[in-house]
Assembly symmetry: C2
Homo-oligomer: 168 residues x 2
């Protein structure tokens, strides 16, 4: 009855990234319709020293693939963060989805209590598989998808909560 | 090894609400320091037709308590959404935390496959306990905490990702 770690990660990230892809499609369509340079949207920021939309998408991708790689002990899947256009960002999401869909369930399930190390410029942080998902990866992933939504919503793109949730 | 439904809900919401409380404290301190009317922060919006900060906090509270009430078949815990000041919002978070801390684990665990109905002005939506958490409550809760962060961050409050995550 309890929930396997795979079900807490891969399908949640896949769903969130598909929703993000649909949100970005609405952003691109809005730019086209209003004659706005799409790069002004993909480079939009909430404030000067926050990351722009393109980086929020890259961080959402990194958050999803990084969690699964760290928990599963999988090989890194480098993505060089060069995306600028909406088409680039869709391609990034597509590559991330293809990777997530390739991850076998048995590499994730059972890793709840395994040590997971997050390496950052500020040092290494140690988690269990479960605490890494619940205390870091999941809130962090949703943060970046929400920021992407917020940036396009603030720019006037017609979006509602159901775009973020992907329906009920 | 797999994760119980209680652990997917109550402690995740408690942690997120404590982080939100700390973020709001920084917002109140910033208003004080800069001589800004605090209500201009609690009423800040990303755009005209989005909910203000105070409502984002109310929605985060509702998302957490509503999920637990629906999944556990518990009595409603009405909170009338009258909060305006930072102190009001802290009180709302405190009441929500007290409720969450009162929920017995055995009312949540084992409800993964139970039917859960979300009643909305647009109609009723049916989930299982598990799908309600993973596909609705968790992303929705993180959405509203992130929006509260985004509003204060955009208003100039010195916040970083670790305030949102509550440390690593």
């Amino acid at each position: 009855m309890a929930t396997d770690l795979y079900d807490l990660t891969v399908p949640v990230f896949i769903r969130g990234l598909r929703n993000l892809s649909a949100i970005l499609e609405k952003g691109a369509a809005y730019a086209e319709e209003k004659g706005i340079d799409p790069l002004t949207l993909t480079q939009a920021r909430l404030t000067q020293d926050m990351a722009p939309l393109a980086a929020q998408v890259q961080y959402a991708s990194d958050s999803a693939k990084g969690a699964v790689i760290r928990i599963g002990g999988l090989d890194p899947v480098p993505m060089p963060d060069t995306e600028q256009s909406f088409a680039d960002l869709q391609e990034r999401i597509g590559k991330t989805l293809a990777f997530l869909e390739s991850v076998p369930r048995d590499r994730i399930d059972g890793r709840e209590d395994a040590q997971v190390v997050l390496r950052t410029p500020r040092g290494d942080f140690s988690f269990t598989g479960r605490s890494h998902v619940l205390g870091f990866s999941m809130p962090n992933f949703h943060f970046h998808v929400t920021m992407a939504y917020a940036l396009l919503r603030q720019a006037g793109v017609p979006l509602g909560k159901l775009d973020y949730l992907g329906g009920l």
